[in-house]
């Protein structure tokens, strides 16, 4: 039987991808950030899953305004890194897991989540930067990845509560997949940042850290926070953090199991316009 072994949370700032691709990770500006992921890379080597269910948002890359799915699951065999305007990132293509993805799609649709099934999609920095942070620069990604894209671009985006419930439905779906595989679920995006207007550059260290505290210890309560608080406190693009609740909802403790083990926690300001947060929770 398949099992969710851990959840990983990380910001997916495009400038981090550029720093890696342009070999700037040793620069004084970037060094403290990449230092925060040294442990994570070691941990990943010991704990490479068979599949990562990677929750992220598309940044006007695969989805234009022609079609805006609230939740889209990638069921294709592979996904090519997109050209976001600077040329595609020089990273390996992403190998999917069509069987598990379709299985999860079927299960959660029957649980009343109205997914869009996507068989052809390019993936942007939202998906590839977390892979780079956790795996470095391998020739090929060491495991399969199911892209799960959440609309956080055009309002209204799904509520934190909806995301948290979806995570629970995903956990149930994974648990009834017949193959004996290890699955990690990643929540990406955030933390506080605003990329627009006179308020651009807003960061909120205190709110972000309270978010991390509650994500670990009170995720159900955290899931009730309304959108407007994210925008007001963490900036207009801070709303990406609702995606972390999908990953958190998939941990066993939400269904009465033991609390997950906090293997790693890291916070750093700034990466370009953004506060970077990172957590690794092992499922128990």
């Amino acid at each position: 039987m398949a099992k969710i072994s851990a959840s990983v949370y990380t910001s997916h700032v495009p400038a981090i991808g550029a720093a890696i691709d342009l070999k700037k990770t040793g620069e004084a500006y970037w060094q403290p950030l990449f230092a925060g992921y040294e442990y994570s890379k070691e941990w990943m080597k010991e704990n490479t899953p068979d599949v990562i269910f990677l929750v992220y948002n598309d940044h006007a890359t695969a989805f234009s305004l022609d079609m805006i799915p609230t939740f889209a699951i990638g069921t294709a065999a592979e996904f090519i890194p997109a050209d976001e305007g600077y040329g595609p990132r020089p990273v390996p293509k992403v190998i999917g897991h069509p069987e598990l993805a379709s299985h999860i799609a079927q299960s959660v649709i029957q649980d009343d989540f109205d997914l869009t099934i996507v068989n052809k999609m390019e993936v942007d920095h939202g998906l590839t930067v977390p892979l780079s942070l956790m795996f470095g620069e391998p020739e090929a990604w060491p495991c399969k990845v199911i892209p799960f894209a959440v609309n956080v671009v055009q309002y209204p985006v799904p509520s934190g509560r909806r995301c948290f419930q979806l995570g629970q439905a995903i956990r149930k779906a994974v648990a009834c997949f017949d193959d004996d595989i290890k699955v990690q679920i990643w929540g990406t995006g955030g933390m506080s940042h605003q990329l627009q207007g006179a308020r651009a550059g807003l960061l909120n260290r205190e709110w972000d850290n309270a978010f991390l505290d509650r994500l670990i210890a009170d995720p159900a309560g955290l899931s009730e926070v309304p959108h407007i608080e994210y925008v007001r406190e963490a900036g207009s693009e801070g709303i990406e953090l609702v995606m972390w609740l999908i990953a958190r909802g998939a941990m066993s403790d939400i269904q009465g199991g033991p609390a997950p083990t906090v293997k790693h926690r890291f916070y750093h300001i700034p990466a370009s316009n953004t506060a970077v947060g990172h957590l690794i929770l092992e499922n128990n």
């Binding site: 400038a15 890359t61 305007g85 550059g201």
Partner: protein
């Protein structure tokens, strides 16, 4: 009553909702076209001619030509779409975001390194934070405002 828009009272912030999306449809679709290298080359070769291929409003075209991202946003642009213009120009996201504040590139970068903009005074319109309308533009641009 109509649906609630609780996000209208945040200073210096435009939430990209359905209304903005409708207004900015062609502007944003034009931006998407810049994800192809060929289109970027054609746009750079003759910006006006390339823009004229799109059913955008004249104001939207002017806003793009002026590279005024705040103006682009007021006409319905979304930052993730507009970022394709910046990418075409070789700008980083930090340069793009900073350009909307009035600060110089250096001023904005320094603000970020020092911990970013504080939420204090910037949560609600009518407070006195640096993102409030009465304090625009910020940085060097603001200091030269009266000059």
């Amino acid at each position: 009553m109509a649906l609630d828009k609780p996000y209208l009272d945040i200073p210096g912030t435009i939430i990209f909702d359905a209304e903005q999306s409708r207004k900015g449809y062609w502007l944003n679709q034009f931006c998407m076209s810049l994800m192809k290298a060929d289109n970027r080359a054609r746009f750079k070769a003759d910006e006006r001619a390339y823009l004229d291929e799109w059913p955008m409003t004249e104001e939207q075209k002017q806003a793009v030509l002026a590279r005024d991202l705040n103006w682009c946003m007021r006409t319905g642009g979304n930052i993730y779409f507009l970022a394709k213009i910046g990418a075409t120009d070789g700008l980083s996201f930090q340069q793009m975001a900073g350009s909307m504040t009035g600060m110089t590139e250096e001023e904005y970068r320094d603000m970020m390194i020092k911990g970013g903009r504080s939420p204090e005074g910037n949560r609600y319109l009518g407070e006195d934070g640096d993102a409030q309308p009465q304090h625009q533009p910020q940085g060097a641009a603001g200091k030269n405002k009266g000059a």
